[in-house]
Amino acid sequence: MADFLQSLVGSIDPYTLQILVNIGVAIPLALGLNVITGLTGQLSLGHAAFMSIGAFISAIFTNRLGLPFELNLVMSGLFTALIGVMIGFPILRLTGDYLAICTLGFAEIVKVVFLNLDITNKALGLQVLPAKTVIPMPILVWVVAILAIIFVTFLQSSRFGRALKAIREDEIAAEAMGINLPRYKVQSFAIGTFLAGIGGALYAHFLSYINPSDFGFLKSVDILSMVVLGGLGSIPGTVFGAAILTAAPEFLRFMSQYRMLVYGALLVCLMVFRPNGLLGGVNFTGLLMRALGRKAHETLPHIVERNEL
């Protein structure tokens, strides 16, 4: 089995494979932020910090303890979620931009702390030993990404997910309906940071080298752009956004030095012409039903996203 998977991976052109794996790594990260910002409406500008916590924890688990990678992934996710809860509990009392700047501040603090700790090898960064697993890394990354997609899809339509959406739409109304705001906010933060931790662990083992400076403000912005570009709160949108923004710099490589210039201009154009994101406001269930020959209105009526955030 392992040999078969290995040969399957070997048959893909390495450059394409690398882009594909990068997309697979970005998906859990973006989905995690989508739970916090897209579903619950809490703007976080520090997602990369949780990614870095996951990355460093998993690297330490591999390097020092030699944990099997599958266990390692779950452990790093849980550990990151634990820190997420510890941070989330006090700061989720804040709303809107105050919360955003607080998460940003927290992310900068995490970065500076990692740059000064011995266990993270300070500014030199950490070399990560190969993951202890029989499954080839690219396959594992995509299995995790698909599991994350399934998990968040179910989460979104569950009772819990509807409570989160209620908080996003109107906190006061949600509270009046008996939704325990602090509890749900912290839980959504825990889920989002759990996914960020897993994404960070995948990132660390795929790249096999991590440096605290790689997880700065720009990384958080990258992840946020994926979520907003695809369409806030939309899972296909988030996956699409993760794919496009990961691949875009590669596709723009032919204009090498103008790459980031074009990337910036593209972000502005996309937002100006499609402010709700590429797939925001598209009813996928309805489209699917129509494709299957059923009437669209048999599905839940499409709720128009409000643009308060």
């Binding site: 910002t37 703007l43 006090p90 700061i91 009392r93 804040l94 931009d97 105050y98 955003a100 700047i101 607080c102 940003l104 501040g105 927290f106 900068e108 603090i109 500076v112 702390v113 740059l115 000064n116 006061i172 109304a173 403000f217 720009l218 912005v221 946020l224 752009s225 907003v228 570009l229 806030l232 030095q257 103008y258 790459r259 980031m260 210039l261 990337y263 910036g264 201009a265 593209l266 972000l267 502005v268 937002m271 100006v272 402010p275 709700n276 994101g277 643009n307 308060e308 955030l309």
Partner: protein
């Protein structure tokens, strides 16, 4: 020692305050975190440096020209990247701002390269003045003086002029102001122009202070200035000044007592602590939640 560090802190802090004012004014009017503001600050430093080193202009003339340039830049950015997004999601506008910021910093990287540029040595007449046991340079005094002058001018414009009154009205209630016959678009453009001019001045002063102008100087300075604006209470002009100076002074003292490798974390740690204790910032008004 104490006096020396205090002056260093106030000089650094007043540049933060100059940048923070742009954030706070724009936020007060259209509730947008203008992430491109740090890049305007960077552009101001580069334009000023070019004017001084290639056109041999006097530093103050260069500063006035660079402020004018950035005023236009700020207004154009608002026109292209934010105006059409005013009615849509605030996050879309935020991403658009981030796009502008990436665009401008990579443009600067392309034009000026990755290494730090500096103002020519004789750009500013440097003297050391001894007060007690502190060495204070004329540059530091000028930074504090110029910042104070600019802030007083701003306060005058906002409080005493007609357009300032319109700005205050628009930030109080956007729709009502428009109904009262205020040309909201013009007020917003004016706000961007004012904020960008202050950022350009800040950029040149920081460029002189650290003797370095780089394409990515806008990022950290912008983040810290934004932190200063939030610390003082976002939307409040005196708050931004207070927040900036406070942040600069604590940062300098933090470094002085031996936490230099934690330099960038100090500002944010204070920010997080203040927000947890007083969620609307030091001088921010309590926002009434309405049903």
């Amino acid at each position: 020692m104490f006096l020396q560090q205090l002056i260093n802190g106030i000089a650094l802090g007043s540049t933060y305050a100059l940048i923070a004012l742009g954030y706070t004014m724009v936020y007060g009017i259209i509730t947008l975190i203008n992430f491109a503001h740090g890049e305007i600050f960077m552009a101001g430093a580069f334009v000023g440096m070019l004017l001084v080193s290639y056109f041999k202009l006097n530093i103050f003339v260069a500063m006035a020209l660079s402020m004018t340039f950035c005023m236009i830049l700020g207004v154009v950015i608002e026109l292209i990247a934010y105006r059409r997004l005013r009615r849509s999601s605030r996050l879309s506008a935020l991403i658009s701002a981030i796009g502008v910021s990436i665009f401008l910093s990579s443009l600067a990287l392309m034009i000026f390269g990755a290494d730090a540029k500096a103002f020519p040595d004789n750009a500013f007449p440097l003297h050391q003045i001894h007060i007690g046991n502190a060495d204070i340079s004329t540059l530091q005094i000028s930074i504090i003086g110029i910042s104070a002058l600019l802030m007083l001018t701003l306060e005058f414009i906002v409080q005493k002029t007609k357009i300032g009154k319109a700005m205050r009205a628009t930030s109080e209630d956007y729709t009502a102001a428009a109904l009262m016959g205020i040309n909201v678009n013009r007020v917003i453009s004016f706000t961007f122009a004012l904020g960008s001019a202050l950022a350009a001045a800040g950029g040149m002063l920081v460029g002189l202070l650290f003797n370095a102008v780089t394409f990515n100087m806008g990022l950290m300075a912008g983040l810290k200035a934004f932190a200063a604006a939030v610390l003082g209470g976002i939307g409040s002009i005196p708050g931004a000044m207070l927040g900036g100076v406070l942040l600069g002074v604590t940062e300098v003292f933090g470094v002085a007592i031996g936490y230099s490798s934690y330099r960038d974390a100090i500002a944010f740690a204070i920010l997080v602590l203040v927000l947890l204790l007083k969620p609307t910032g030091l001088l921010g008004q309590k926002i009434q939640k309405k049903v």
